[in-house]
Each structure stands twice: as C-alpha cells, then as structure tokens.
Symmetry: C2
C-alpha cells in the first residue's frame, strides 16, 4: 500500500503527469481530430466514469474491438482508471473466436468500432455476461475507404444491449477517479494469444510490468517529448508493446491510423514528421514497396519484431532515412524483451556482416526480464552459437500468468522460468538467436497462428481423416500456414471445399491458402506425425533464419 | 521474493547487464586508468568478496571517504553486492563530524583515500565498531597536485586496524555473489545530511528508489550508451544523484575526477569529448570563468541544482556549446525530484523571459515522486505564483526514513508527506518555485550547512553568550553562513578567536567567515531570536530568488 516513500507503479501515473506538464501539447492526431494532453486526460476520465456508471467494478474485464483509433488509446487508460482490466481483441477474428474470448474473460462490456459491429453482435449474441455493447462511430472515416460491413443500423436494432458511444458517455458520473492503483501487481490487461493448444490463452499484464516495460521502450527507442509515433502496430497486439503508456509518459504525439496500408503510412509520415513506428516485417515491406516511398525529411526509427529484415531491405530503408531496430518478444513478455543491440565496432563491418549480427534476437532490454537458452534439464546450453536449446525468460516483464488457467501457467512456468517454446542458440557474445519454434505456432504478419487450432478447424469437416498444418515461407507475411490433409476413405472434398469450411471457423488470416490432399502423412514408428519433415520440404532453398 | 514474473528492483542488475552487453566498452576513465564494463564488474565482484571476507554481513554499513575516484564508483555496486549498506561520507568534514557519522551508522569498515587518512584515523580512533580501516593509494595522483596531508606511513603504523587496499582485496573469497537483492525495499545506502537539528541525519535510500530514480536521470538527461559523463558532482552527495547507477545502466562512460577545478574540468571535457556533467552552481561558475574556457567541440548538457543560473550565465554558456538544465531536490529525495522542464513555446520568448521561467524548480521527474505546496493544514495553496507554502513530496524516490531516528522521521513525514522545509509557490502552470527556506539551513556550494550546528560550535566557546547564524549572499558559493554573536559580560574574544575555535569543531566550509560581535540580537517579545531580520538586512539589494 502507498506510503510517503512508496507508490504503486502504474501507467495511470503517466497520463496524470503529462496532463499537468504538457497540458496544451498535442497528444493525439487522427485525421482532422486533435487531442491535447489535458484533453486526452479529460476524455479518459470521462470514459472511466462512464464505465463505472455502466457497472464496471474493480477487477472487471472490459473488452474493446477496435483498430488504432483514439478511443482505443483512451481505453488503455480509461479501463484501468475505472479499476477494470482491458481485453483488447484482435479485430481480425471471426465471431466464434471473439465469443470464446468474451466468455473466457467474462467481459462485462464490449466496446466496438461501428465497422466491426456485426461481428461484435454475433460474438456477444449468446453471452449474458456482456451487459452492454457500446458502438463507436468513427467521424473521421474516409468515405471512400473500404467498409466491408453493413451499416450498423440493422444490428443496433437487433440487440437490446446496444448503446451508442455518446449515450454511453452521457451516463458518466461526476466524481473524479484517482490516477492510482492499490496494488502494483494488480492486473491491468489481458491479451489473448494462440498457444500450443487450440484455444487462445489470456495473458495477464500487471500495472508494475507495464510501467517498467514502458521505460524499456522509452530508453531503447530513445523517445522524448519530440517523438511523433505512428500507430502501425495494432494496439490489440501485446497492448501495442506498451506504447500507449510509454509514449504518453514521455509526452510524445500519437498519430492514430485506421488502415495499415503503404499509402496511408506515407501520407502520415510526411504530414506529421513522424519519428518512430513499430511494425511487423510485413508492414515494413509495405512501406518499402509503396508507390509513395521516397526520401524522408525527418529520420524515422522503425522497430520490428519477428523475422529480421534482410540486408537488402535494411540498406534500401536506410537510404530513405529509416533506421531499423530488431527486437524479440512474445505476448507473454509484454512485447519486446530483447533487442539486437548495435555494438559500436560493427560500424566497421560490411553491410552483410552487420546484417548477420543484427538479425539476432540479441540481449535483454532494461528494465525487463532476463533470457536464457536451456536444455531439457534447465541447464544453460554452451554459448557457442551452435547448441540449440529453448529460450526461457524471467523477470518483471514476464506475464503474471494465463487468466483462469493455472494448469497452462504452471506448465509455462515450470522450473521457475517462462518457457517461450522458441528454440535458439546463445552466441559467445551473449546474444541469443532464434533457430526454430518448439511450439506448433506459425507467425504470419506478426500474429501467432496455432497450427493445432487450424488442424481442429479442418478436422471438423466430415471428410477429413487426419491433417497436419505447418508454416511455409511467404514473401509478404514471412510465413503462412499450409495444410496437409488425408481424406476419409471414399470422401471427395476439394481443397476449396475445405478452405470454405475452415473460414467459417477461424479468422481468414489463419486459414491456409494451400491445402494438399495427400494419401499419407510422415510418421514416427510410434505413429506421431513428423511435422518437421513437411516443414523441411517446404523451406528447402529458403534462408529465413527462424527456420534455417 | 522473486518469482517468474517478479524480480526485486535493484541497481545491481544494471552492472550485471552492462557487463554482458558492453563487456569491452570503456566504463571508467581516470587519468591513465581505464576499466571496461567487464573489468568494472570483475573489480566490483572482487571488492564485494573482500568485504565479505572482512566480516561484512547483510545489512552492515560500510563507510567510504573518498573523492570521485574509480574506487568510489566501485563502492556503489560492491557494497550492496556484498549485502551491505553504503555510507559515503563528505570528504570535507572534520574528524569529529566523521566520527559522529561512523558511530551513528555503526559502520564496520571505513575505506579511505590515502590523502584523507589522517582525518579517517582520527575519526575512527575511539570507535571499536570500526573493525578495519582500508587505505587506498591513488596511483594516478598528479605529483604536482595539492596534497595537504602527511604521507600515510605514520598513521598506518599508529592504528592496528589499518590495512592497504591491495591487502584488503587479497582476502577476497572465491565464491561469486548474486547480482540481486532479496527485497527491493532493503536499504542500499545511507547519506548523512545536516538538517534542522545540529547533528546530521542518515537518509536511507532503498534499492527500489535508486533503481527508479536512475531511470529518471536517464530519461530527463537523455542519456544513452554514447554518454560520456564527467564526475564533478561528489558521489558522497546524494550518491551523486544516483548517477553511479544510472550511467552504468545505460552503458555510458564515467570520467572520474579528483579535483573539481576549472582547469581540470576543461582538460577532461576536451580529452574525452564529455557529453554530460552535473554540478552545483558554484562549479558552473568555475567552468565559465576558467582561463581554459572556450567553444566546445561536442555539446555538453549541464544539470545544476540549488540556485538557478542567471540569464547572463545561461547565454554565455550556450554560446560555448553548453545546455543548462535546472533541477531541484534534497538528499531526502535521492537528489533531483523536479526539473524546470522547457516548454516548446518558450523558444519564442526573450532570453530574460525564458530565464525567469527556467529558474523555477518546475515539475516532478518521471519516474519519481510528487510535489505539492501546502499550508499548515496540508491543504494546497492556490496555484497563483504568489501564495507561499511548504514544498512537500511523496513517492518512490522519497527516502525510506532517517536511520535510527524514528522521531525525526515521523516529524518529517507528518501528514503523510515528506516536509522539505523549503517554502515556495505553485504557479498556474503547475511549476513550483522556491521562495525561502523554512529550515535553518544555508546551502553553500551545493552543500547543506545547519545554522544550528554552526551556532552550537560557537556556543562551545566559553566567551559566547548567544549567537544567531544566517545565510548571506556569496558570489562564489551562492550563500555562506554569517554569525552574529553576543559575548558574555566582561569577555573579550575577537572574531578571529571565535573562527579559530569553530574550525576545530566543524568542517572549514561550514565555518563562518564573517562574525559580527554585537550587543544584542533581534528578538520577539517572548524572547525568540528573529533570524529573518538579520537575513533581510544582509540580503537587501540582492535578487537571489531563493531568498527574494
């Protein structure tokens, strides 16, 4: 509990301070909209009071389904200010997947962007735990932009829990709420991620962990009050690596963005003299290949995770004025936990030599957790750059656990370290490098896809006897899932039939574009499917280091 | 206790990490000496193991009496690594004052620079709590430099507890110690400071507080691994504002310095392309007025505390390539807790207008504590820039308390806030500004001098009947103590007699250079001395804001 010499670490304190220190500074830019820091704090306070009025009590979960709009940023402060726990849901999920998350988290409220309303309504349909469904219209939406949805009118009429965002806000009580939390280890957010099991798991972030990881982001990206940060990384992904909190702490400017497209990114880079963005490698590729690409007037630091960029990409980007930093982490580590820290003496190497060193996942951020590469008995593997082991982590920026899943938590935390499921090596200089993934996970465009989840979707088709899904190389997304299917005797489903079926079960980005119907799958003598044989055949000739 | 998701915050983790991430990078420069980060960690580990071998057990205090040498920097990690608590003693104190600190802290060891050995031996003479007195010779000392001391040989022979630093190190055990602490709220250091009572009080810093304040220093001074920090601020003063820990965390380079003189500072600035230094205003003046002063090749950020620099000084320094940042804090707040944060719109003001705004003590650092200006009932004064109140603080970078002094701690923490004793105003923009000091303290050259302590030294002369000491303006030191003395009837001591007496009792820098023998002191009808009347007369015509 707080005393003269102790106050619970919480990102709420960041906005409280910035609203005092930078009241008139631009906190948020979104199209024609602007919010100053005092305006942002006022809006956050209003939303928090509205959440309270809507019945949110300390510890209650509040789900958001929204692209990177100001309301999504506001949610990162308003939900904890109301005492709640933010559940930011991946906007690309299908209704059944969202429904699972809403049910598992027990979210009392779902606040959704109007463009996503049909999915939201379908997801919440059979859940009486969801008391209200708040729908936010985006006044800044481009009239010509893609709107692959029906107008919200019909859905609004259909569900009595629906309420418009302005009506929701109008209920806000008057009493201000304190920018503080009683316990710094209290949950702040739950982020659902696909793991080795088919069902997504709820990764719990604490106030303390997010506070400390915010400083990691500030220090390693060298943010200051002059930072102009473009929101290309989804806020629903690891809470945007804690950047909603970190950039607010330092008093920078958030540039919100609905559509993560090359042309839209370039327009924002130039309109607002952006200094920083974080993005999956696929977004980096979009930026590079956009028709609008060209020299920058102000240098931009791009932090990317997942697959390291190629030397060609790095060189190309640097000529335009970008600097690329490569980081590594998981949802379970609040986003990045390590970075490919550049060493001064690397400046003397050739671009190719440098790229090899920079492609490594590197060393732990400060303040963050620690990383080791261990063998099955939890002993460190030799730091020889050759011996494979599992990457394990520990520290203040490792999740508190999986929500309502003590078994999975205990399994992930066995031996006193968090098991990433990633296989890697430790180099003699203390840098780690990923080599393969122990978990059955495909990372496509920065998002985890559980191969087991895809397999289960395929198995639910009556014609499928058995199946194996592996990640295969993809020029745009890094990798994508590919399915190998053995049909039941006499069955005749085509790959197209199976794809259509799968897309009713899981999000489009998870569904395999390639399905090979085959007569048998490679197996061990004991009958276990040997996925690595399928993977190796697909990756032959590719140099992606993660699968090298 | 540590778990997968929790590790106790401690500055020890900073060096552990930097030794891994930057093993070959220069951590310390001192004259011809160099230490890499791995070399620094090795040396720290050796000293810690030697401390253990010398009998230091968890929680034991270890005193250091040393200028800003590498060994003093090493102490900031080695003492806590050994489980001990660092007591860094002001090198300008006289033996009696040091003796008080050694006795009060119960320090088991005293490690002293050879040049300070006679004082150290005298201070420890009657204390059997001090088990050993380790004397460190400085191999880099300039042969022509001032050595106002006897060679250590004689003293070495005199005290059987004396041991040379190499002999002390030779006892180091083999077992490595973990770079961790069991409890983040455990004491890390005790800094003795003069308060309202005559005797110095031991301000307790915790691992958590120092860890968090280190990030405050990194973020607000924009440190990164390219930082080259010149050690002008004494490490014995608030542990150098936590910079031994902060700069090590970020992997910068420490430039050590024995003598804080203008010529020595300019030589180091130029030899090592220094980027940052922290200094009291008097040191800023020395830099400015040195014969060697001239344009810098690399910009230097100076952070200064105490009195804000004048517009003339700021303009002069900026022309040479310095940027000056003004901060405020106390020993009780781990050094700086606020800064005169520059606002972008100030760039459009005249230099004089800007200086007025920048001279204010400003807003709280992140991550740090909070500041308020309150009236006697602990209510906030109006934010009108006019209404005076006491500046109070609260948060993670407020001391844990005064060592072995629950009464003074309770008094300082009354009402749930730390009472700074400083009087100030709150401006409408949320910036605080000091106006006067409630405590009987003179700040001279950045060091606190208790007027009561000076008065007690004077009162110990048999001819003195009563006395009052106040701070008066001083061009070099900002202010200095001045004494008004009423002699006993028939007594005839001269000001010179009294000065000579005082200098046997307290450090030279605390002793008044001016003593007015007078027939009476201004008093209230109830007999209380009205120091403000003496002060006002002395400050007439001066514009120093603290005393304005």
């Amino acid at each position: 509990m707080d005393s003269v010499s102790y106050s619970a670490l919480t990102p709420l304190s960041f906005l409280e301070r910035s609203a005092r220190v930078w009241p008139d500074k631009t906190a948020v830019i979104y199209q024609r909209r602007r919010l100053t820091y005092s305006g942002l704090a006022d809006e956050v306070s209003r939303v928090a009071r509205a959440l309270r009025a809507a019945g949110v009590e300390p510890g209650d979960r509040v789900a958001y389904l929204m692209p990177n709009l100001p309301e999504m940023l506001i949610a990162h402060f308003a939900v904890p200010l109301a005492g709640g726990v933010l559940v930011a849901v991946n906007t690309r999920l299908v209704a059944d997947e969202m429904s699972y998350i809403l049910r598992h988290s027990g979210a009392k409220l779902l606040i959704a962007d109007a463009a996503l309303l049909p999915t939201a309504v379908a997801a919440a349909k059979d859940l009486d735990t969801v008391l209200r469904l708040v729908v936010a219209e985006d006044a800044e939406i481009e009239p010509s932009g893609p709107m692959d949805t029906d107008p919200p009118g019909a859905a609004l009429a259909a569900d009595p829990r629906l309420v418009s965002y302005p009506d929701f806000l109008a209920q806000a009580a008057e009493d201000p709420l304190p920018w503080a939390v009683a316990e710094e280890l209290a949950p702040l957010a739950i982020n659902y991620t696909s793991g080795t099991t088919g069902m997504p798991k709820g990764v719990i972030y604490t106030h303390r962990g997010a506070y400390l990881n915010s400083f990691a982001q500030i220090v390693h990206s060298r943010h200051d009050e002059n930072s102009v940060y473009l929101w290309t990384l989804p806020m629903f992904h690891c809470n945007g690596w804690c950047m909603p909190w970190a950039l607010t702490a330092i008093g920078g400017t958030h540039v919100c963005l609905r559509e993560v497209r090359g042309d839209a990114i370039w327009a924002q880079l130039r309109a607002h003299d952006v200094t920083h963005l974080n993005a999956a490698p696929t977004v980096v590729t979009s930026i590079l290949n956009a028709d609008e690409a060209g020299p920058l007037t102000r240098p931009v630091l791009i932090t990317t995770a997942g697959a390291p960029p190629s030397p060609t990409t790095i060189a190309h980007m640097e000529r335009m004025g970008f600097t690329i930093v490569h980081v590594y982490g998981l949802t379970e580590t609040y986003g990045p936990i390590s970075l490919g820290q550049f060493q001064p003496e690397w400046a003397d190497l050739t671009a190719d030599q440098r790229a090899v060193l920079q492609a490594r996942q590197g060393v732990d951020l400060i303040p963050a957790g620690k990383l080791r590469v261990v063998d099955a008995s939890m002993a460190d593997v030799p730091a020889d750059g050759l011996t494979m082991g599992e990457i394990v982590m520990r520290g203040n920026t490792v999740m508190a656990g999986y929500y309502r899943d003590p078994e999975a938590t205990a399994e992930a935390f066995r031996g006193g370290w968090f098991h990433s499921g990633d296989l890697g090596v430790m180099h003699p200089d203390g840098y780690i490098e990923l080599r393969d993934r122990a978990k059955d996970i495909v990372i496509s465009g920065g998002e985890n896809i559980s191969t087991i989840e895809v397999e289960q979707a395929l198995m639910s088709h009556p014609d499928v006897l058995e199946t194996a899904v592996v990640g295969v190389p993809d020029d745009k997304w890094g990798e994508r899932p590919k399915a190998f299917v053995v049909l039941r005797p006499g069955a005749s489903a085509s790959p197209e039939d199976l794809m259509a079926h799968v897309r009713t079960k899981i999000a489009r980005y998870k569904a395999p574009r390639d399905i090979d119907i085959t007569v048998q799958l490679p197996k061990t003598p004991t009958g276990k499917i040997q996925k690595f044989m399928l993977r190796n055949a697909e990756w032959a000739g590719h140099t992606n280091r993660v699968h090298g």
